[in-house]
C-alpha cells in the first residue's frame, strides 16, 4: 500500500505534468487477499497488490480525464496529454466555478487497523478449516476478504488528502440437501468479523424448519427483510434515483419531489461516511470532507448526491458524492445508511399474522420503471413462512416485483439493531440497515413455477 509520502510524490508529479488551468488527481492502492470456498473446500485464493492514478484537467472550463497503472515520468506525461486532449474536445462545464479551494479539515475518523492490514492468508485459511470441521451436516460456500488500501487526492489549489483504510468482509452460505442459509459481516476491523459465528448463523438458517416445507401462491404479503436484502435494493435505488446524473436527466423519482413527502414518516435514508459505527471515510475523492447527507429524511425527499461539477450545474450545495473523477454518475452514495427503529426481529415475527421472512435477495434489477422505482428479484438462502407469530415453514425461493416508492411508504416497523453489508463495487463503504417489516409486498412467482 502506498504511504502518504509515496502517494503525494506521485500526485505532485501528475499535477505538475497536467499543464492545465486546474487539475486534480487521485491515487488509490490496495493490498487484498480474498479466500473463496465451496463444498467446504478452499478453492480460490488470491492476493493482489495494485495501484492506479486518475488525472483530471480543466482547460478553458472543459474537463478531460485519463488514468494509468504505471507511474514513471513518461507514463504520467502521456496520461496528462491524453487528459488535455480529452478536455480540448469537450464542452465547458455548465456554471462550473472551479475545483475546490480552502476546504475545512476532514473529521479525524478511524479508518485503519494494523491487524486487519497484516492478517495472513494462512490465519484466514485456518479459521475457514475450523468452520468446515465444526459443521459436518452442511457444506459451506462463501468468501473471506481482507484488504489494506490507501486513497489520496490532491488538486492544483492546494487541497491534499490521504487516508489509509482497512476492510474485512466475509460471506458464508451453508448448504443442506433441503435448504440453505446465509450470513455476512463487514467491518474496518477483521476482529469485528467473526467467521465462526457466521458459520453458526448460516447453519442455523440452513437447517431451520427443515421438517416443514410449504408453498404459497403469488400475492401481497407482509415481509420481514433482513439487511442483506435491503442493501441490494438500496444499491439499485441509489443508481436510479440518488445520482446527480439521474436527477439531471429526469429519470429519478426525486425530480419535482424535493421537499415533498415520498415515503412514510418512519423512513430516513442518508449517505453517512462520518458514522464511526458504519464504514467511516473522511473525504470524497475531490477532497470534500464527508458529512451526513440526508437523501430522504422522515419521508421527505432531499437533493441527490453530486460531485462538484453537478453541484454547480444543478445549483445544489456540494455534498461529497465524487468517487470516480469525471464519472458519468456525477455523484453517488457510497455509504447508504437506513435509520433504525425501536423493535427487534423477534418482535416483528411475533406480530405477524401471515408473512414472509427473507434473508437476502438474488439478482435484483431496478430498471423496469425508474419513475416508480419498480424492481424485481428473487429470494434465496433462507425464505420462511410466518404464521400466527411463528416461523411455520421453509418456502421455496420466490420472485417479487415491487415499486420501491410504494414499499418505503408501507414500512410497518424497523429494528433498532442495524448491520453493515458490503458491496462488490465499493471499497470505501457499503450499506448499513436495520431489519424492516413492509406491508403488501408483491410476490409474483417462485423458483419452480412461472411468475
Amino acid at each position: 500500500v502506498k504511504s502518504e509520502s509515496e502517494s503525494f510524490e506521485i500526485l505532485d508529479r501528475a499535477l505538475r505534468a497536467a499543464n492545465a488551468d486546474e487539475a486534480d488527481a487521485v491515487l488509490l492502492s490496495v493490498d487484498q487477499n480474498i479466500s473463496r470456498f465451496a463444498n467446504s473446500n478452499l478453492h480460490q485464493n488470491m492476493s493482489e497488490i495494485s495501484a492506479g492514478l486518475t488525472l483530471r484537467v480543466i482547460v478553458n472550463g472543459s474537463m478531460g480525464v485519463a488514468s494509468t497503472s504505471s507511474f514513471d515520468d513518461d507514463e504520467i506525461a502521456r496520461t496528462a496529454a491524453l487528459a488535455r486532449e480529452a478536455a480540448k474536445h469537450s464542452d465547458p462545464l455548465q456554471n462550473f466555478t472551479g475545483l475546490y479551494r480552502d476546504l475545512p479539515d476532514p473529521l479525524p475518523l478511524r479508518t485503519f487497523d494494523e491487524r486487519t492490514a497484516h492478517i495472513s492468508p494462512a490465519e484466514k485459511a485456518t479459521s475457514l478449516r475450523a468452520i468446515f470441521d465444526a459443521h459436518r451436516d452442511v457444506q459451506f460456500a462463501g468468501s473471506y476478504a481482507t484488504s489494506a488500501s490507501s486513497a489520496a487526492c490532491a488538486n492544483t489549489h492546494g487541497i491534499r488528502r490521504y487516508a489509509p483504510l482497512t476492510f474485512a468482509d466475509a460471506t458464508v452460505i451453508a448448504l443442506h440437501s433441503k435448504g440453505s442459509g446465509y450470513a455476512t459481516r463487514c467491518a474496518r476491523l477483521v476482529d469485528d468479523v467473526d467467521i465462526l459465528a457466521l458459520g453458526d448463523e448460516a447453519t442455523f438458517k440452513a437447517t431451520l424448519r427443515l421438517d416443514t416445507v410449504e408453498d404459497i401462491e403469488p400475492g401481497a404479503f407482509d415481509v420481514i427483510l433482513e439487511p442483506p436484502a435491503l442493501a441490494e435494493v438500496f444499491e439499485w435505488l441509489t443508481m436510479i434515483a440518488f445520482t446527480g446524473q439521474s436527477y439531471e436527466d429526469g429519470s429519478s423519482f426525486l425530480v419535482d419531489h424535493i421537499g415533498k413527502r415520498v415515503a412514510g414518516e418512519n423512513f430516513t435514508l442518508a449517505d453517512d461516511a462520518a458514522d464511526e459505527s458504519f464504514l467511516p471515510f473522511p473525504f470524497d475523492l475531490e477532497g470534500l470532507p464527508k458529512f451526513r447527507v440526508p437523501l430522504i429524511e422522515r419521508g421527505i425527499a432531499h437533493p441527490p448526491m453530486v460531485d462538484k461539477a453537478y453541484a454547480d450545474r444543478l445549483g445544489f450545495p456540494p455534498n461529497g458524492g465524487a468517487w470516480h473523477l469525471g464519472a458519468s454518475d456525477h455523484g453517488t452514495a457510497f455509504h447508504i445508511a437506513l435509520a433504525g427503529g425501536d423493535t427487534t426481529r423477534e418482535e416483528m415475527i411475533r406480530s405477524t399474522k401471515r408473512g414472509i421472512w427473507v434473508t437476502r435477495f438474488n439478482y435484483v434489477n431496478g430498471l423496469l420503471e425508474p419513475k416508480t422505482a419498480l424492481m424485481t428479484g428473487t429470494t434465496r438462502d433462507g425464505t420462511f413462512l410466518i404464521r400466527d407469530g411463528e416461523v411455520a415453514a421453509r418456502l421455496p425461493n420466490l420472485r417479487w416485483t415491487q415499486s420501491m416508492i410504494e414499499a418505503i411508504s408501507n414500512i410497518e416497523s424497523l429494528t433498532k439493531e442495524r448491520r453493515r453489508v458490503a458491496t462488490w463495487y465499493n471499497m470505501f463503504g457499503g450499506t448499513i440497515a436495520p431489519t424492516v417489516k413492509i406491508k403488501n409486498w408483491n410476490i409474483t412467482g417462485k423458483q419452480g413455477a412461472g411468475a
Binding site: S47, E48, G445
Partner: protein, 478 residues
Amino acid sequence: MKPSRAQLEDVLSTIRAARYADIRFTETHQQHVKVRNGEVDHLSSTVDRAIGVRVLVGNGWGFAASSDTSEASLRATAKRALEVAAASNIASTQTITLSDVEARIASWSSKYDVDPWSIPIERKIEHLMHATEPMRGDPRIHQASGEISCYRQNKVFASTDGSHIEQTTTEMGGGIEAVAIDGGEFQRRTYPNPFGGDFQAEGWEFIERLDLAGKGLQIRDEALSLLSAPKAPAGRFDLIIGSSQLALQVHESCGHPTELDRAMGLEISLAGGSFLQPEMLGNFRYGSDLVTIVADATIPGALGTFAFDDDGVPAQRFPLIDRGLFVDYLSGRDTAPIIGRRSNGTVRAESAARIPIIRMTNINLEPGSTPLADVIADTKHGIFVDTNKSWSIDDLRLNFQFGCEIAYEIENGRLGRLLRNPLYTGITPEFWRSCDAVADRASWQVWGLPNCGKGDPMQTMRVAHGAPAARFRSVEMA
C-alpha cells in the same frame, strides 16, 4: 514493461514447489467517448498493466497479482503466489486433477481494417453529434446520447507446461439512445443495443457499418410513441422474441447455467449455482428439437473469440444443447476432469490481475429455416418483443423475468399496435421447450456483450451471442 519470454521462463523455473504454474501479463487500453444533448458528456482514456502468477501446490491453488510489472515485482509476485497456495492447502479438502494440454508457442491477433486509435477524437465526437443532434428538439426528449468505446488488450501467457502464447484483441462498440419523459412516464429506446450499443472485435469499420445517423430519428419516434402506447397486457401469449433480446435470454438462461464451475457450486456465494447438474448430461431435455445452442470461440470478429484460453487450451466450437438435449458444459482444466472430460477451453480472466475462471465465449442459438416474416404470419394472436430493458433470474437460473424496450401486438399474422413496458417471465426448461419456431439466418446476428459479471473480485468479461428471432408458445406476460 512487458516481461520477455526469457524472464518468464526463468521465473517459472524458480517455482519448483508447484505441480503447475503460469504467468500472465496484460496491457489494456480503453477509450470512451459519450455525447449527450449536444455536449461531450464523457471522454476518457485508461491504460492498465498487470501481471498475475498462478500456482498449484499439492491441492491448493495460489494466485498473486500486481500492477507493478517490473522483473523484481514479478519475482515477488511469484513468491506471494506460493505463500497463498500454502495457505490454501490448510483448508483444501478436495483433490485437483488437471486435464492434459499440449504445449504451444503461438501468437494471434484479432483482425480489423481501421485501427480504432487511428481515428481522431474529434471525428468520433462529430460522428456521434451527427447521429444524435436530429433526435433533439421535442421537449419530451430529455436525452439524446451516443457513445463509442475502443478496447485493446495485449496478453502474454507462459506456463510450466512449456507454452508461450501472445494474443492481442481489438474491439469497438457504439450506440445511441433516446430518453422520453412525459409526466410520470419514462421511455428509453436504444440502437442497436442498450448499455453502450453493440460491440465487435473489429475496427472503425464496425462503427461506420452501424449507421447510427440513419437510426436516430426512428428510435426518437419510437421513444415518443411509447409514452402514450398501451401497457403490454398480462396473461399468456405466444411470444416472438427478436434477435437482440433473445441473445440476452441465451446469455442468462443457457450460457450461465452451462458453466461447469457454477454447476459444481464454486460460484454459489456470489452469482449462484445451476439447475443443470452433471447427471443430466446427455439425457435432460432442455428445449424443443428446434433448439441447438453452441459455444463457438472461433467466430471471426466476435467478443468471445480468441485463439487460446487462459489455461493455454485452444479455442473450440462445440454444442451445449443439441436439438433440445443438454450435452455439454463450458469447462476448464481443473473442472472438466471432475465429470470425466477434457477442458473445452473457456477459462478467461478480465486481466492478469484476476484469477482465470470459466467464462462464456460466443454462445449461439443456431438459426432455423423459416423467415421471420413467415413466423409472424403464422402467429394468430401474440406479442413481439425486442431490446432488453431489465433482466433478473434466480440463483439456479430457473425463474427469469425480462423487460424489453418495445413490443408489438400480433393479430392474425400481422404486427399491430405498439405496446409499452412488456415484461415476460418463465422457467428456463419450460420456456425453451415451448420454442416452436426459430427464424432463419437472415434474422441471426452476433451481439457483443462487454459487461458479463462473475467472480470475486468481480470480473467483467467480454462475450457474445449469436441469435435469430424465435417464437415461444404460451409465455406468461406480467
